[in-house]
Amino acid sequence: MAEVLVYVDHVDGAVRKPTLELLTLARRIGEPVAVALGNGAADTAATLAEHGAVKVLTHEAAEYADYLVVPKVDALQAAHEAVSPAAVLVPSSAEGKEIAARLALRLGSGIITDAVDLEAGDEGPVATQSVFAASFTTKSRVSKGTPVITVKPNSAAVEAAPAAGAVEALNVSFSAQATGTKVTGRTPRESTGRPELTEAAIVVSGGRGVNGAENFAIIEALADSLGAAVGASRAAVDAGWYPHTNQVGQTGKSVSPQLYIASGISGAIQHRAGMQTSKTIVAINKDAEAPIFDLVDYGVVGDLFDVVPQLTEEIKARKG
């Protein structure tokens, strides 16, 4: 059976959820071979084996943290040479897409980004993408070289599928470009204790209607009652009420949770682009004409300052 390379996104050995989703998709195409790089790479093996990795190629070097993108491209290229895979899958983060693009160019391969589903096909893997602010669904495949495909979070379920997960050291020699862009400083984000926005099963977002940074506390309270991540519209971010890292929309994060709750968000195209593929959509807005109501499964026309706290209380009461 053909092997499929899966690039592992991890923090000091803790594998992030989108990588486990990639393993589910990789198993549809072939045998997953994971590539884990940098500090803690070998510590990823147990988790990856549990989810279907037959092999885990690892390489630790300071370059992965000290320089941008290129060392990881060098390593994936080395893994490609060692394995000759049927496809290379990479999580669709900002960095993941850059790594995948440079790898594809080196391999003489095509690249598909932001796939939301992946199936085996007669002429190689078929990727489903959601385009034009999710108003269209396309099916595409790579027609030259080894397919390099990046996949969005929440595109597949995480499945237990125990496999050998044999750890092998990967031989990597860094290219001349590897040390071109130096990371001179790194400030980790403070943890909010809430799930990562793109990975969360439930997202609660606030927009212009929240009307002030201090009022985001009621959005956060609702999110916490549901164990949800907090999002914000561009209007709320541009006004300085909430950090840009939480922005949902075309120039922020694109999310696809089981449940999306939009509070005080009108639903401009730029916002819809980032949340339209959510499974269930709920909105609370004063304006009955707001375009967000065209998308909802359930909508409440009303003042979010009345509705949201009542909802939060009711959820807490029901959860006991």
């Binding site: 862009t181 730029q270 359930y298």
Partner: protein, 262 residues
């Protein structure tokens, strides 16, 4: 000292228009109004600010690949303050994918001459966000991408990249490829004077032969990816909308409980 900046820009269908696909499954560019991709305005703005903050002699060239109408995007960038423009136009370019586009851009950038390339974070139509990385790979120069802050001094570009897990400070020697996000600073509006001046600024037109690119390297034929189908997403079935009359929060909770979210 002089500093040559090339800003890559894209002419895209208006996102607020009714975007769709043509029969050959390429983006239909005829039926929707086009404009300079909003995210590229930030790249033009940062080029102008680098120029304004520099003691060097800075020349800003805007570069686009696209059909005749794409000149509108160049005019907009010139009216914001760029010095000159290059338009790569060729019938054989229709249907070119990201890999092919990066080839055309890289050849044009090399022909134009550059110390710094500045791009937007992504186009607003394709939204792949991979072209800056591809340009750096092709040109063999550092990529300093997705910056929300950028500065150039003494042949070094520095910037801040805000990632999910951390905010990173980056540094590279010129020549380099930079991309900037929508957090890098609001783009200026062209002034009346700028719009008038833009009419007199030079716009060069190049075709594939000017760049030593064969037709089969680009276009639909040369594409590395194939789109097999494009279907309009079915409209979501109309949901339940209630007016809050004091119980809206409770009603919503009832709905969520019914869907097993509580």
């Amino acid at each position: 000292m002089s500093l040559r900046i090339v800003v890559t820009v894209k002419y895209v269908p208006d996102a607020t228009g009714d975007r769709h696909f043509a029969d050959d499954l390429t983006v239909d560019r005829d039926d929707v109004d086009g404009l300079l991709s909003e995210l590229d305005e930030y790249a033009v703005e940062q080029a102008l600010q680098i120029s304004e903050n520099s003691d060097d002699d800075v020349e800003i060239t805007v570069l686009t690949v696209g059909p005749e109408d794409a000149k509108d995007a160049l005019r907009k960038a010139l009216s914001m303050g760029a010095d000159k423009a290059i338009h790569v136009e060729d019938d054989d370019i229709h249907g070119t994918d990201a890999i092919g586009t990066s080839l055309i851009l890289a050849k044009a950038i090399e022909k134009a001459g550059y110390d710094l390339v500045i791009s937007g974070m992504a186009s607003t139509d394709g939204t792949m966000g991979v072209v800056p990385a591809l340009l750096a790979e092709r040109l063999g120069v550092p990529q300093v991408t997705l910056l929300s802050e950028v500065s150039v001094e003494d042949g070094t570009v520095k910037g801040r990249r805000d990632g999910d897990a951390a905010s990173e400070n980056l540094e590279a020697s010129l020549p380099a490829v930079v991309s900037v996000t929508d957090q890098s600073g609001e783009a200026r509006y062209p002034s009346f004077k700028g719009i008038m001046a833009a009419k007199k600024k030079p716009v060069e037109s190049w075709d594939l032969s000017d760049l030593d690119i064969e037709a089969e390297e680009v276009g639909l034929e040369g594409a590395y990816t194939t789109v097999d189908s494009a279907a309009e997403r079915p409209a979501r079935t109309a949901g339940t909308i209630v007016k809050d009359e004091g119980e809206g929060g409770k009603q919503l909770a009832e709905f969520l409980a019914g869907q097993k979210f509580i």
